[in-house]
Amino acid sequence: MKKATTLHFYSPDTSDEANVWLAGGGISAGFPSPADDFKEVRISLDSAVVKNKAATFYARVAGQSMVGAGLDDGDLLVIDRSLEPTDGKIAVCFVDGEFTVKRLKVAEDCLWLMPENEQYKPLQVTKDNELMIWGIVTHVLKAV
């Protein structure tokens, strides 16, 4: 008879984050659950939304300046710093000592930060302004 020479003890990973499929069918002596052959990893919002972990940050919207683009007060923004700021992108910028979120409009000799709310004025950025494009907004998460 073959003898086992080592015994391995394993302890379960009980962290909440593990994307493991739960075999919820219970164990019975009869037939296995027909679903067991089709198990997949549960959907993760994180992996759907975050394309670049090292470069992804989050911000909270305050105010109404971008309601036209669907950014309401209190919404959560997903920001990817690795993306290039190009015409038409919604960006988080740092201007005049404050973080702001606006749509970028690239003109010939300047850049416009465009609000999407008639009550706000576009902000023209020229070489004299100090502007930092902090990151590009990729998703908006809102509670309904």
Partner: protein, 419 residues
């Protein structure tokens, strides 16, 4: 080729990424408990703020020079560090994280690369993706990469943050420039002794005989010499070993005399150690407890003592580790002493599943489930909500952190606001 990537004023830069108004402003970061200055921005250094300056003695200095002061925000610094390292790993698989803000990189098979351009690309990507400014030094050994990094940082205007030692001429020039005391791995004592022997620069050091260096500074010194000569002798250490010991020690805000109070502190530190053990999936076999009075108040009766308590079985339970820590405290506590500091250290660390099973003397099996539940609740409702009965329930925060910045990247309630 080796590279040393070093974040510029790492702690201050972490704060600036989320508060860009602080760019070009002097910043000081304080130690745990807001005790003393542990990091300074270049502007704060230029004002003459010394490293280790006690915060309470410098409050008027801070005000006078408009220095922005921060309590250390380790959740933020730790996360930003991980992001930087993640970006670096895209450039080579061989990354040795050397400290929270520096890493050695090894490039094998990059012979036909323009390493200076490659390093610039690396620097730009780290800056763009994470916001962190870094300096990069490259050379044929780790020792020379470290030297090159000093050059890159010191002459940032000319080097644009990257310097490569790739010729004999550059190597000698850099070594002749670097004072011996600033050479990586040369301690203060060795530097003093070397200075007595007319060794003033890193170059002078490489001119010593191998025998002399081995005799005076052991094989470690010799390895360093070889590294600086351009022969890679100090290897990459890539595998992060699981921590061999975990400690939680704190200075008290005020002196403590009563047994009950010290007991409460020890129980809290033991609980923290147990949490750290559970996080890395380990158990410990022994727990070391120590207490001490304030050596800076020599008029008071001085006392320090510690004790190692070996446990009958390996454990990661807060209840068990706290119990044995308190057994140790019972033995070393002395009345009539004003205590300033205490700590708990757990050693004999083993992976939890490598524990030996004992028939009669094992952990109460209910502890496992209880600890898991406690950890779950802490993840959900924030740390330190559940305490042992011998911890002080009214005590909600042990550290003085009067100048703490938000945890921008690790707490959803602390993220930046945009208008």
């Amino acid at each position: 080729m080796f590279a040393l990537v070093d974040c510029n004023n790492f702690y201050a830069s972490c704060e600036r990424i989320f508060q860009p108004t602080l760019n070009d402003k002097p910043i000081a970061i304080l130690s745990n408990n807001d005790g003393c200055v542990i990091a300074r921005s270049n502007e704060a250094k230029a004002l003459g703020l010394p490293m280790g300056a006690p915060a309470h003695k410098f409050s008027s200095f801070f005000r006078q020079h408009n220095v922005r002061v921060f309590s250390s925000n380790y959740p933020l610094y730790g996360d930003m560090s991980q992001r930087v390292m993640e970006v670096l790993r895209q450039f080579t698989p061989e990354v040795e994280v050397y400290s929270i803000d520096e890493a050695f990189l090894h490039f094998d098979g990059f012979a036909h690369y323009d390493m200076e351009a490659y390093a610039q690309q690396m620097r730009k990507r780290v800056r763009k993706w994470t916001g962190m400014p870094v300096s990069i030094g490259l050379g044929p050994s780790k020792g020379l990469a470290k030297v090159a990094n000093r050059v890159a940082k010191k002459f940032a205007d000319r080097t644009k943050g990257v310097y490569v030692i790739d010729s004999e001429e550059k190597r000698i020039k850099a070594l002749k420039w670097l004072p011996i005391a600033d050479v990586w791995g040369i301690g203060r004592q060795h530097a003093r002794r070397l200075a007595l022997n007319e060794v003033k620069t890193a170059y002078d050091f490489t001119q010593l005989s191998d025998d002399w260096v081995r005799k005076q500074m052991s094989v470690v010194g010799l390895r360093l010499k070889k590294d600086l000569e351009g022969t890679a002798t100090i290897p990459m250490e890539m595998i992060a070993s699981p921590k061999k010991a975990i400690a939680t020690t704190r200075s008290f805000e005020a002196l403590i005399t009563s047994y009950e109070e010290v007991r409460e502190r020890i129980s809290t530190y033991a609980t923290l150690c147990a949490e750290k053990l559970r996080k890395q999936g380990s158990s410990c076999h022994a727990v070391y407890v120590f207490v001490r009075s304030n050596p800076f108040m020599p008029d008071l009766p001085q006392y320090r003592n510690g004790m190692l308590v070996t446990m009958p079985f390996a454990s990661q339970s807060s209840l068990t580790i706290s119990k044995y820590a308190l057994k140790g405290l019972e033995r070393i506590f002395k009345d009539g002493i004003q205590y300033k500091k205490a700590g708990v250290m757990v050693t004999g660390i083993v992976p939890k599943n490598a524990q030996q099973l004992t028939l009669f003397d094992g952990e109460d099996s209910r502890h496992d489930a209880l600890m898991q539940r406690i950890d779950q609740l802490h993840r959900k409702y924030g740390p330190h909500k559940i305490k042992l009965a011998n911890q002080d329930l009214s005590r909600t925060f042990k550290m003085k952190q009067a100048h703490l910045s938000p945890r921008y990247t690790t707490d959803i309630h602390d993220i930046i606001t945009v208008r």
